[in-house]
């Protein structure tokens, strides 16, 4: 019993790391732009396909692909911002959030359909030679590739944290998140800050997607799943704190795996959504309000 619980907890934490990484980009974009990009999961899906294609064509290791998917999705994000989200900047904050949900929703449909047209609706997987290797600790089994994904997720988040706190560009992003008008007054070009934040958020989705491909199948339809996870995580974890978001991701993974064990796997997905509604019903504006 204890060892089964422990095993479940390990799997939950390994999955939760991906939830956390998947949510950080969304949280960053929401924090800086007050734009809720519900096509975030589709960007994760695209990151997954970068990894799938690099592996299928040239047997590139998915961990290397993750470092390629980041820059690729950075560019995709920059283009999406220029084409669509830039127009929202002049909107009042409430209108901006509402309209951004609608645009993200339309984009999600478009990106998903394009992916089906380009690559078909099939599920694809990446199978590096070490795919089945596990590490055994007592009675607990830890798949090495998933552990590696968690490690890389943690490293990337550490890098983003350093970027936001130790560089001028990062500080400008945080200033814009804290107080838009103040940022304008001290001479921060907020148009550029918006572009950078959106592209960086997309890049994080790309990295997350490539890491998802290490352990999960990739298909055009996975976007909504990852968007929902990211939304749950940022509501649970609060906003603006990268490690808070990451911890919330771990917590969600743990809660899912434990409840999956107690209630049956069929209901594990419901638990996260229940937690989400519970938090919202206590704090109707969510834990992540910009104040």
């Amino acid at each position: 019993m204890t060892s089964v619980l422990l095993q479940n907890a390990v799997f939950g934490l390994l999955l939760g790391g991906l939830y956390g990484l998947g949510a950080v980009g969304l949280s960053l974009v929401f924090g800086v732009l007050a734009v809720l990009n519900v096509a975030h999961g589709e960007l994760i899906m695209l990151g997954g396909y970068v990894s799938v294609w690099l592996f299928t064509l040239w047997r590139v290791d998915p961990f290397v692909s993750a470092l390629v998917a980041g820059p690729v999705l950075f560019l995709v994000g920059a283009v999406l911002f220029r084409l669509f989200f830039r127009r929202l900047v002049s909107f009042a904050e409430d209108d901006r959030i509402k309209t951004s949900i609608l645009i993200g929703f339309g984009l999600a449909l478009v990106v998903q359909t394009l992916a089906i047209l380009a690559w078909g609706a099939d599920e694809r997987a990446v199978t590096p030679p070490y795919a089945g290797t596990v590490m055994t600790m007592g009675t607990v089994v830890v798949p090495l590739s998933r552990l590696g994904a968690l490690g890389l997720a943690f490293l990337v988040l550490g890098g983003v944290h350093l970027f936001l706190t130790r560089t001028r560009v990062g500080t400008a992003l945080r200033a814009t998140a804290d107080d838009e008008q103040g940022a304008v007054l001290v001479g921060i070009p907020i148009g550029t800050a918006y572009l950078r934040a959106f592209a960086l958020g997309s890049a994080l989705a790309g990295v997350a997607g490539a890491l998802v491909s290490v352990s999960d199948a990739v298909s055009p339809a996975i976007g909504l799943h990852w968007t929902l996870k990211a939304l749950i995580v940022i509501v649970l974890g609060g906003m603006g704190n990268i490690f808070g978001t990451f911890m919330a991701g771990l917590f969600l993974g743990l809660a899912e795996s434990t409840s999956g064990f107690l209630l049956g796997n069929a209901y594990r997905e419901v638990v996260g959504l229940m937690l989400f509604l519970l938090v919202l019903s206590i704090r109707p504006r969510g834990l992540l309000t910009r104040s």
Binding site: F84, T113, E269, V270, P284
Partner: protein
């Protein structure tokens, strides 16, 4: 157009639509059914999202409840009227239970919260009823499209009537104030929460009825399919394309949407989603009023030009 002429035209249109089963069968009637089903679906969302200004992403939950409850009652031998009413009642009750807490959420959380509720229902239904629901052999032998079509026509007409009523009644005016500015609404004595809840329940009931028609129509489907977020997405696409908060925008857009789907489906299955997804984003960014407003703006421009010349 004067009032009486408009009513005559509408009555004439309804008459022609109701006579369609006499004139044609097969693919045209099936297409007609689909259009009317989507008119009812989009209009039921429009009542809440367009007239009420509450962008719900959980609409599929009520459509699904109506479909599954109606289907079960009907297949277990109850008269169709009873089954449809039961589906509608289930969706109405769910509307109260889901609307009351989610309408207290602010900003984007209402949209996301309703999506979460709908997903919870979808997953639960897929766990509890994993089996595909197929009509029995005798039911299949006596299957006729015409009554399904007429039911869809009824649902489409009813939901459009409700939308029209919102442009005419005191409740509708109150709702418009709530949509535009809740603080102003409260200041002039309109209870914002009550108006929002009432329209949420109204919208749920209409979605439940539409779902019931779907449950009666389909030969075989997985119960969870009726809860798919696609139903919400289609309703949103159509409503925004036609014009949110307009009476005739969604019916017009539903016909265009299904025409696109029919034509494009011959080439590639999902192409219509691509076309409409792009149109949707453009409409949201450039023409927040939708097809109708764009057309009115264009024709108003033309009128102004003729006056000048």
């Amino acid at each position: 157009m004067t009032g009486r002429r408009a009513w005559l035209l509408i009555a004439l249109g309804l008459g022609v639509l109701a006579a369609l089963p006499l004139l044609s069968t097969g693919s045209v009637l099936t297409w007609g059914f689909q259009v009317l089903l989507y008119v009812a679906l989009a209009q039921s969302w429009n009542v809440l999202g367009g007239f009420g200004g509450q962008v719900s992403l959980g609409h599929a939950a009520f459509f699904g409840l109506g479909a599954v409850v109606t289907r079960m009652m009907w297949l277990s031998g109850h008269p169709l009227g009873v089954a449809l009413s039961a589906g509608m009642v289930a969706a109405t009750v769910a509307g109260v239970l889901i609307g009351a807490p989610t309408l207290r959420l602010r900003g984007p959380y209402f949209a996301i919260g309703t999506l979460a509720v709908a997903e919870i229902l979808r997953i639960t239904v897929s766990n509890v009823f994993p089996e595909v629901s197929t009509l029995s052999a005798p039911a299949l032998a006596s299957y006729a499209l015409a009554p399904r079509y007429l039911l869809a026509l009824m649902a489409a007409a009813l939901s459009t009537l409700v939308a029209w009523m919102l442009t005419q009644t005191r409740f509708g005016y109150g709702l418009a104030v709530v949509r535009d500015d809740e603080a102003v609404a409260e200041a002039v004595g309109v209870n914002a929460f009550r108006h929002k809840l009432a329209v949420f329940v109204l919208s749920s009931a209409l979605a439940g009825l539409t779902g019931g028609v779907f449950g009666y129509y389909h030969v075989s489907f997985y119960p969870q399919f009726a809860f798919s977020p696609l139903w919400t997405f289609d309703a949103l696409l159509i409503t925004f394309f036609g014009g949110t908060g307009t009476v005739w925008g969604p019916p017009l857009a539903a016909a265009v949407y299904l025409l696109f789907r029919e034509v494009l489906a011959l080439r590639l299955v999902e192409l219509h989603v691509l076309v409409f997804g792009i149109l949707f984003v453009l409409v949201v960014l450039a023409f927040p009023g939708g097809l109708l407003a764009a057309w009115r703006a264009l024709s108003a421009g033309r009128v102004r030009q003729t006056h000048r010349s």
